[in-house]
């Protein structure tokens, strides 16, 4: 069979190499070349989706297994079920958009080429992580991903970039290293052998209660840092504020999904008993994240920080959905991973338009833009409304599924978390009010409205949100079965013990 997923991992890497090594004469064309590679990747992703058999969405499809390091027990094993597919699709959609949004961020062609090479390299690792079927491979790509992101923050960010990149790296690395401990110990507990790291072989192990709990924690801490959950979320606002909006958009919309993706497809599947054991505490932290993120978002003046806090809140909802273990809530969370990716990326891009035009991310520097830039205002409003889960836009469905599914299981948690919906209305509408209504500041007289490129960046994302808002079945079709399988694993163990 054609190794389509391997190709999808390798293609952006080749793109990164090409863009990085472009001769000086061609460097001006770096953006077009990078866009070409990411567009090709999108075509491959859509092709993958078209050939994906939705009737068998729970099964791993496009599977390929090649020997890699038999001495360690790891193989180059890729394959996606419906959940992996949705996230591969998400990253393939957002990377070209991010490249477009960063079109004018650099003046020097060399720097621009370097940035685009890093974006493409990070895409390769993202796709790889979502498609990995081998725990070691997952870990390697999970950690390797840090390197391009680290340079994207540290080399191309704002004033605080050095501090931010260091904070990001240390947080992620400590989480990753603890996970490494778990990865090694998991192999030791498994059947071993030359392919002993395959996820299939590590599923359903008969672990002692304590081992399972320790392993669960080793994995979960890494994912919680990535996701980012209270109290290990503090790196995100720092990074969001200091990095480029296009970097942050990719980071929050796609990369951080590795955290929730890992919880869903590794923690729950590999350690079902420990997941149930830890669920009450995790749900408490998830609810704290939801409310804490929302409250802090209201108080922010820097728009990038504001959006990052809203994401902490939204990630809390996903974690709540996952650890409620109900079919509807987990399905909602899986759907939310995709929808939140689109909606948050769009929000970051919209904020980026404002920052590019005004040179400041502070809400105080804006006001009354509605008349000056009506298209921008409308676009911003729709994207903002998606973030506060207005019915008709896709995040609404996923959020409501989480709440409805989780309510019978953890009613109190859902009641608290649902209050965040009210808070989210507050922070989004307040932001809109401060930027677009009221008296217009004189500095904004020359504000341009959305250019064609800006529209190409945001409107397709809005279209996706609208389509999925009315027809969520398109995605749910591939998510229901894999989620059902996971929920069954967690529930079955409950009966067994």
């Amino acid at each position: 069979m054609f190794p389509q997923l391997s190709l999808m991992v390798v293609l952006p890497l080749i793109g990164a190499g090409v863009v990085f090594a472009l001769p000086q004469s061609l460097r001006k064309r770096a953006r077009e070349i990078a866009l070409f590679f990411s567009a090709a990747e999108l075509v491959l992703a859509v092709n993958l989706w078209m050939h994906f058999d939705s009737n068998d969405a729970g099964a791993i499809q496009f599977a390929e297994t090649h020997q890699w390091i038999p001495q360690i027990g790891t193989s180059w094993a890729l394959g996606v079920n419906g959940i992996g597919l949705s996230l591969v699709l998400l990253s393939a959609i957002l990377v070209p958009v991010a490249i477009l949004s960063a079109w004018r961020d650099d003046k020097s062609p060399k720097r621009r080429a370097n940035y685009l090479a890093l974006v493409l390299a990070s895409q390769a690792f993202m796709i790889g992580v979502f498609a990995a079927r081998d725990v070691f491979l997952f870990y390697v790509l999970f950690e390797a991903m840090l390197i391009p992101i680290y340079f994207m923050i540290g080399s191309f960010g704002g004033a605080q970039r050095r501090y931010a990149s260091m904070k990001f790296l240390i947080y992620s690395l400590v989480g990753g290293l603890i996970m490494l401990l778990g990865v090694i110990a998991l192999y030791a507990a498994g059947p071993g052998g030359e392919q002993g790291f395959l996820t299939d072989k590590l599923t359903g192990l008969d672990l002692s209660t304590n081992t399972e709990r320790l392993l669960f924690l080793a994995f979960f801490i890494a994912f919680a840092i990535k996701a980012p959950m209270f109290p290990v979320h503090t790196w995100l606002p720092t990074v969001a504020e200091s990095a480029r909006p296009s970097t942050t958009a990719l980071l929050v919309a796609v990369l951080d999904k590795v955290g929730t993706f890992g919880m869903l497809t590794l923690c729950l599947v590999l350690f079902p008993n420990a997941s149930r054991w830890a669920a009450p505490v995790i749900i408490v932290f998830a609810v704290i994240s939801v409310i804490y993120g929302a409250i802090l978002a209201i108080g922010q003046d820097n728009m990038l920080r504001l959006v990052s806090f809203t994401s902490i809140s939204h990630f809390g909802i996903m974690v709540l959905g996952i650890f409620a273990f109900a079919q509807t809530s987990v399905e909602g969370a899986a759907l939310y991973m995709f929808n939140h990716g689109i909606s948050t990326a769009a929000l970051f891009f919209a904020v980026a338009f404002l920052i590019q035009r005004r040179g400041s991310a502070s809400l105080r520097d804006f006001g009354g833009l509605q008349k000056r830039a009506p298209v921008l205002a409308g676009t911003f409003l729709i994207i903002g409304l998606s973030s506060l889960s207005l019915p008709g836009l896709s995040p609404f469905i996923s959020e409501i599924m989480v709440f409805i599914g989780a309510f019978p299981v953890v009613p109190v948690a859902v009641i608290f978390a649902a209050s965040a919906v009210v808070l989210s209305a507050l922070y989004i509408l307040l932001m809109y009010k401060k930027v677009f209504t009221g008296p217009q500041a004189p500095e904004l007289d020359n504000m341009r409205d959305l250019s064609l490129r800006d529209r190409v960046v945001t409107w397709p994302l809005i279209a996706i949100m609208l389509v999925l808002g009315f027809l969520p079945g398109i995605l749910l079709g591939v998510l229901t079965q894999p989620v059902h399988d996971i929920v069954t694993i967690v529930a079955a163990e409950e009966v067994g013990k």
Partner: protein, 530 residues
């Protein structure tokens, strides 16, 4: 007492003999080739040729060897796959060392002084150079050291081990003292290394004497048998074992026997530092493995705590001290001490997997070490009037290196990431196999400390990356740094960088070889005590 001539199988010793004979020939070259330029070329050629031949011979032996190896000398010397693996590695390290020794700056300056009493750049020095006092004996000295280290990995007798320990230590004492610049530091380093080295040798030989006193044997295998046959505990054996291990841990540079490391690494010529950090450490690990797994193995219960304790304090202390270093070479020195701690993790519970994981670890670590120090030699100070001076070792001077020399800075980044154990570099695979060896023995608390120390250590590696790439060159210092260019040094950097990536992405063949090497051959062919 009857004396029978020992039977020696010379064949398997070819790699070692070639290196040692070439070293002896190098001394003759010193005496008979008078023209400095010719002498230099001859010495470099001789050294490289000897090491390449030794490498080839060792590889051929590896490929053609049947079974697990040959007992070269009953009870004293075996050449098994474990030893061959180290010999191949040391030969490669030797070649890299000779290349670094041979490197010169654009102005023709070497790492080594022509005459100890002449200040660098002075008229006296020029005169000394004209008089043909150029130091070319560094090449035979390096060969003696490499040959000694190769032999060190094959020795299976406590007294013989001591002799070989001195064989490779003595040339190092001289090499450390030969720095051309910062001569006082170099002298201090040499004296410190010599005194503490002599001290640790004394501790070691005391341990060997106690072993003989307790068991009546000096051969590893015979001692092991004697320990196994012992009824109950013998405090003498424990004391002897601890003293012997201390002697070896000194060479490894583990806390609390590490105090010489930062000073010596800083004071020695950088090429010598690279050699010591990579090769001496590899030889020490090889000997430690052989001593522990073929002789002291029955003492696992008694000695395990020693490895745990030293490993933990080494990792924690070295990492913490490295965090506050401001000198590049001292920072790398403390990083090498921290690595000694990671190395000792593999010994937890005397896991047999240490025998196959540590050769890979040392290869990965050694390559990154050579690469990093090679880069250090290329970043030089420059005075306002354009004279290129010594190495720019203050961390602040590395600011903006990514702009000045993007490829060099990228290579350095790669080595630092490998030190830090980031995936897709050789260092990660090395850490992985070592940690796995420990976890197999249930030593996960030790590994937990190790991963946390790795996380903290990443901080000071990454700090250098931040300096190189994310910090702009201060306005007033833009002209004060010169990037040197020596084809020899660049070759070392490229070689180390390529293999750091290759061993990180496709470590399969190397790991398979290391697994083959994971068995020690007993040196016993005849009955003991006859």
């Amino acid at each position: 007492m009857n004396w029978t001539q020992p039977e020696i199988t010379w064949g398997p010793l070819v790699p070692i003999l070639v290196v040692l004979l070439a070293a002896a020939a190098g001394i003759l070259v010193e005496a008979f080739v008078r023209t400095p330029a010719t002498r230099r070329v001859v010495q470099i050629g001789l050294a490289l040729a000897a090491l390449v031949v030794a490498l080839g011979a060792a590889v051929v032996q590896w490929a053609t060897q049947e079974g697990s190896g040959t007992v070269v000398l009953n009870l004293m010397l075996v050449v098994d796959r474990q030893s061959l693996a180290w010999q191949v590695m040391l030969a490669v390290f030797g070649i890299l060392t000779v290349l670094l020794f041979a490197a010169r700056t654009r102005a023709g300056e070497e790492d080594f002084t022509a005459l100890g009493s002449t200040p660098p750049g002075s008229l006296d020095e020029t005169r000394a150079l004209r008089a043909g006092l150029q130091v070319t004996e560094v090449f035979p000295l390096a060969l003696f050291a490499v040959g000694g280290m190769m032999l060190f990995t094959a020795v299976t007798d406590y007294v013989f081990l001591f002799v070989v320990l001195e064989l490779f230590s003595l040339p190092l004492y001289i090499l450390v003292a030969l720095a051309r610049r910062r001569r006082s530091l170099s002298h201090e380093a040499a004296l410190k290394y010599f005194l503490l080295g002599a001290f640790s040798s004394a501790i070691y030989i005391f341990g060997a004497a106690l072993i003989y006193g307790a068991t009546g044997q000096t051969s590893f295998t015979a001692v092991q048998t004697a320990i196994e046959n012992l009824a109950g505990h013998d405090p003498l054996i424990i004391a002897a074992a601890v003293l012997i291990l201390v002697g070896l841990l000194f060479k490894l540079g583990a806390v609390p026997f590490h105090t010489w490391v930062p000073d010596v690494y800083q004071g020695a010529p950088t090429s010598v530092t690279a050699f010591m950090a990579a090769a001496t450490k590899a030889a020490a690990v090889a000997a430690l493995l052989r001593v522990v797994y073929s002789s002291l193995y029955p003492l696992e219960w008694e000695l395990n705590w020693l490895f745990w304790t030293i490993s933990i304090i080494t990792m924690i202390l070295a990492t913490l001290i490295a965090l506050v270093q401001t000198d590049m070479k001292r920072m790398l020195a403390y990083s090498s001490v921290a690595h000694a701690g990671f190395i000792l993790v593999a010994f937890a519970g005397f896991s047999p997997a240490a025998l196959s994981s540590l050769p890979f670890y040392m290869l990965a670590y050694g390559l990154a070490t050579f690469g990093a120090f090679a880069v250090v030699t290329q970043v030089r100070e420059r005075t306002a009037d354009g004279v290129v001076g010594g190495e720019a070792n203050r961390l602040g001077q590395w600011a903006g290196l990514g702009k000045r020399a993007p490829w060099l800075a990228t290579a350095m980044t790669l080595f630092l990431l490998s030190f830090a154990g980031i995936p897709l570099t050789a260092g990660f695979v090395g850490k992985f196999v070592v940690f796995r060896a420990a976890i197999d023995e249930g030593a996960w608390p030790l590994v937990l400390v190790a991963v946390l120390a790795s996380g903290a250590a990443a901080f000071f590696y990454v700090r250098i990356i931040v300096l190189m790439f994310f910090t702009d060159v201060p306005e007033d210092q833009a002209d004060l740094i010169e990037i040197e260019y020596s084809p020899f040094t660049r070759a070392v950097v490229v070689f180390a960088a390529v293999f750091t990536v290759v061993l990180g992405v496709f470590p399969g063949p190397a790991l398979a070889a290391a697994e083959d090497a994971g068995v020690l051959l007993s040196s016993l062919t005849a009955t003991v005590g006859s």
